[in-house]
């Protein structure tokens, strides 16, 4: 018959051993590998100052992110993202189709001439257990400029309950100066700085 004290000490040792084993290799439950974005649980929103009155908010609905995740050495990870500029959506387009104007106007994203906005990571810099800076290059309107995303691992699963494969979820945010890409229409009345947030879930590819 063990005493109550012995029981608790034993339980504490068992628990710490178990959790220690779980975190021995890394703190991420999902394995390394290639991950594909789950478009049903992903969003890309952006904000731009309008007249000093609002941080006008809109989104892109068609975009894709590919993740090569190394959970052991996060610096070895890489990511690419592609956005269809024609998929820009504002919440209220007004009397003229504002979405169409932003997507296709030659003073805006000019999607027929530049059908892709792309981001390619060049290096990953670990900043915390679940955070990293992703340094890369973004190409918009045919101009390529360095852009840094600040990424946070929201969560990871060894097996997604529906998909039954490993899954990870990231938040990433950053800011670009659109004029650097030659997109200076209405600056500064409509802000030069465009901030964006990506919330996306990823499923391990086969």
């Amino acid at each position: 018959m063990i005493s109550t004290k012995q029981f608790f000490v034993g339980a504490a040792i068992a628990f710490s051993t178990f959790s220690g084993a779980a975190s021995a290799s890394n703190s991420v439950a999902a394995p390394s590998g290639i991950y594909a974005m789950d478009p049903t649980h992903a969003s890309l929103t952006w904000k731009v100052n309008h007249f000093g009155l609002s941080n006008y908010t809109a989104r892109f609905t068609k975009f894709d992110v590919k993740l090569n995740l190394d959970v052991d050495v996060i610096e070895n990870s890489s990511v690419t993202a592609t956005i269809d500029p024609a998929s820009v959506r504002t919440d209220y387009t007004g009397d003229v189709d504002f979405d169409d104007e932003i997507a296709n106007g030659d003073k805006f994203l000019n999607a027929s001439v530049f059908p892709k906005i792309e981001f390619v990571s060049r290096s990953v810099e670990k900043t915390g257990d679940k955070t990293a800076l992703i340094h890369g290059e973004m190409t918009m309107l045919g101009v390529t400029k360095p852009v840094t995303l600040s990424a946070t691992l929201n969560g990871a699963m060894a097996a997604h309950p529906y998909a039954k494969v490993p899954a990870v979820g990231f938040h990433a945010e950053g800011t670009i100066k659109r004029s650097e890409f030659g997109f200076d229409h209405l600056v500064p009345y409509v802000g030069d700085d465009v901030s964006f947030v990506i919330e996306a879930e990823f499923i391990k590819a086969e």
């Binding site: 100052n49 007249f51 000093g52 009155l53 003073k107 209405l186 500064p188 009345y189 802000g191």
Partner: protein, 205 residues
């Protein structure tokens, strides 16, 4: 103070001089502030309001300056002191006429600039009446509007900064006359001096 060399400016001339002077100084300060503030989102909304105020006062200055020009042409000016060298007289004449040019050209180039702007922002005269844009610029295409807005903006800026230089020259000269030469050049343009009656033969001629 030496003996007054001549009559004072008329009350109307004095009133217009100081009214316009105050407004121009305010406009210069507002112009310098708002052109920076419009670029920062924290101050942008306030800057938009300041632009409207700046444009409203510009219309007032234009109207008063045309009135003043008419007054100047139709009324006798006090003469300059006999001791003044010819080059100083010429410099004073040139400065004064440059000021007339500036008082009219600044509002006009400002008006042209906002009329050419592809933004098409209305000019609200102190919030209650819309001042029309100059129609000749309305027919331009976007690139044409951008080009002409920029040209008028550069003119407006050039004249404004030139005006600051002119203002320093003008104030410096007036103070030199008052404090060093000690003549009545400054005093005859000062308001509220009828109570002094310093050898002035007239308040109103």
């Amino acid at each position: 103070m030496q003996q007054a060399t001549d009559i004072r400016y008329t009350k109307t001339a004095v009133l217009l001089h100081w009214l316009i002077a105050l407004m121009i100084i305010g406009m210069m300060a507002a112009g310098i502030w708002m052109t920076g503030a419009i670029k920062e989102k924290e101050t942008q909304a306030a800057a938009f309001e300041m632009y409207q105020l700046h444009k409203s006062f510009g219309i007032v200055i234009l109207a008063l300056s045309l009135l003043r020009l008419g007054w100047r042409i139709t009324h006798k000016q006090p003469g300059m002191p006999k001791e003044m060298p010819a080059w100083e007289r010429a410099a004073a004449q040139i400065t004064h006429w440059l000021f007339y040019g500036l008082m009219i050209a600044l509002p006009v180039t400002g008006w042209l600039m906002v009329s050419a702007s592809p933004l098409g922002l209305p000019t609200m005269f102190f919030g209650f009446a819309e001042v029309p844009h100059m129609g000749a610029l309305a027919g331009l295409d976007y690139a044409g509007k951008e080009l002409w807005e920029e040209r008028f903006e550069e003119m407006h800026e050039f004249i404004a900064f030139g005006g600051i230089g002119l203002l320093l020259l003008h104030v410096g000269a007036a103070l030199k006359h008052h404090l060093i030469v000690r003549d009545d050049i400054l005093v005859r343009m000062l308001p509220f001096l009828n109570i002094l009656k310093n050898n002035n033969k007239s308040e109103e001629d």
